[in-house]
Amino acid sequence: MDKNLFIAKNVIIQGITGGQGSFHAKAMKAAGTNVVAGTSPNKAGEVVDDIPVYVTVNDIMKDHSVDISVIFVPAPFAKAAILESITAKVPLIICITEGIPIHDMLHIKQRIVGGSSVLIGPNCPGVLLPGVNKLGIIPSGMGLAGSVGIVSRSGTLTYEAMAGLTARGIGQKYVIGIGGDPVRGTGFIECLDLFENDPDVTSIVMIGEIGGTDEIAAAEHIKNNITKPVYGYIAGHHAPAGVQLGHAGAILGSDDESASSKTARLTEASVRMSDSIVQLTQSVK
């Protein structure tokens, strides 16, 4: 991922007239994000907080260039919304929507590979660059501009980590929620590389959870490619097997997917692992 993807540019909101979309459009704008337009199937011509509403992304592109789309469209229509942005070659697509069917995500992943868009999410809180850009629902008041890169599958643990660091006076360059679904766009590895390659970032916080094996792949990647200090925590040490805990992706299948096995593999990769989220924010230097 190119770090310039996230820097203040023209942002649109797909699903801007819904409850979530309109609320967060205002919050993003208030935080200084350059929200130029939004989409809604039946409300073209209206405005939300002075932001003009169009039917499609293509319609917006007749009037504005679009660099980033943040999607709040309800799950049954989210696949079409994401594909619309991929087709329109929007460079960065951030999908907040929760509950998208996994088969829809398989289809989208095939389209992302070989396309020119980066997808973050779905089922994620988005991205915050404190003091720079708010792309999603991460509360910007809790951030502090600085040099830590945070990447997490969980929304609230992202906020905890960010607020915990802010309370200690440690600022963040990137706060990225990659989402709680089993099949998602950007993963840990792309974010770790972003942090490694950005000279502004001095240390990395990585928060995983049970289910899937992405943290194991990330451990391998850290061992071979990441030189900056990484601090980590895996949620769900006391999760029962085979039961979904909130997130669609948080389900413990094989032993590999457990918190203890992921913690062990990350420790082997020299990640400084913590037993709790509080300990994690206190451990960061």
């Binding site: 069917p101 995500m105 398989l106 992943k109 629902i137 509360p139 969980s154 999760a239």
Partner: protein
């Protein structure tokens, strides 16, 4: 949702995947049966054959008593609502055949093994065949499978099987379709001996036809330990998991996982308290809220309301942070409900009142 065998096989039959001739027996109705017949208890438990859940009946006088026995036989705590009565297959060989989602590759994959049946897990991990499927490569995958299973004469049959199961998998928003065993009969027919199928709850909106015995589980409230002594309430799946972890690490028994969700309202928090009161041994409730979208004052109102409605409420240990914290602190102060600064403080205090 996990489908029962008879539900899955109905879907297979409609998708032109060969299944044994069968009828379903309910508690109220037994259709006419052709002997010999295999009676299979419809419970969501693997290995039920070894637990007495599958019985072959040869004599007409054994039919009714066997059905009665099966309906009354709990298998790992499950009593069946239905019994599947199938023709007895003349088995020459048993294979393992499944379609799964490879999450890390974001692909649909065929997984097969020469040795199917209940002992499939004993097979060496590396000896399974894995083929990535798409809507165009059934022919090639069928050839590969025929070669792997050493069934050169069945290449076309396997191509059809793969094509039909793949289509069935996609059309039904399945996350697992496992045919084990895939039976080769003495007449060289390939038939789905048993079938395990799981479908994606998130896709329910486009499947009005879904009406299975299993209902979508509430992923936001999960019972961890019925005898647990400490209940947890948190917002966000990650924070809820982290709260359970912290309670257990502090040496107490967490009873539940509960994510009241982003934007949690007073009503949803009150419902959460009511659920928690159903546990018999709760001595403390740990509330851990980090409000991003959620508002602390909403949660505070719910806590106050729960305190006045539920007289037997165990002691609450509350950590609140984030949006509208000050308003919440004021509300709770009026009611003499204290907020603790950190989760750690909540845990130490909870430990004093609970017996661990």
């Amino acid at each position: 949702m996990k489908l029962l065998e008879y539900e899955a096989k109905t879907i297979l039959r409609n998708a032109k995947i060969p299944v044994p001739n069968a009828v379903v027996i309910t508690r109220d109705f037994t259709p006419e049966l052709k002997l010999p017949v295999v009676l299979k208890s419809q419970v969501p438990i693997g290995g039920r054959g070894k637990l007495g859940g599958i019985v072959i009946v040869d004599a007409p006088e054994d039919i009714t008593p066997t059905i009665d026995t099966l309906f009354d036989l709990p298998i790992r705590g499950y009593l069946p609502n239905a019994i599947l009565a199938e023709e007895k297959l003349a088995i020459k060989n048993e294979y393992y055949f499944s379609i799964v989602i490879n999450k890390s590759q974001a692909t649909i994959e065929l997984v097969a093994h020469k040795n199917g049946g209940v002992e499939v897990e004993a097979n060496d991990h590396d000896s399974f065949l894995h083929v990535t499927l798409n809507h165009r490569n059934a022919e090639q995958a069928g050839e590969q499978l025929a070669e792997y299973l050493d069934l050169p004469g069945q290449s076309f049959v396997l191509q059809d099987l793969i094509e039909n199961t793949y289509k069935c998998f996609v059309k039904n928003d399945a996350t697992l379709l496992e045919i084990n065993p895939l039976v080769l009969t003495t007449q060289n027919k390939l038939v789905a001996g048993d079938c395990k199928m799981e479908v994606d709850n998130s896709a329910a909106f486009r499947h009005p036809e879904w009406d299975f015995e299993d209902k979508p589980a509430n992923a936001n409230f999960v019972v961890l330990d019925n005898q647990g002594t400490v209940a947890t309430i948190a917002n966000g799946a990650g924070l809820a998991m982290a709260t359970v972890d912290a309670v257990a690490t502090a040496g107490m028994r967490p009873a539940n996982f509960l994510d009241i969700g982003g934007g949690a309202s007073a009503a949803s928090v009150l419902t959460a308290f009511e659920r928690i009161m159903e546990f018999p041994n709760i001595q403390a409730i740990v509330i851990n809220i980090f409000a991003g979208i959620t508002r602390c004052d909403e949660v505070a109102r719910a806590i106050i309301s729960a305190k006045s409605h539920i007289t037997t409420l165990p002691p609450l240990f509350i950590r609140l942070a984030g949006t509208n914290f000050e308003a919440a602190a004021e509300l709770l102060a009026v009611e003499n409900i204290s907020i603790l600064a950190t989760l750690d403080e909540c845990l130490s205090a909870a430990k004093e009142v609970s017996n661990g």
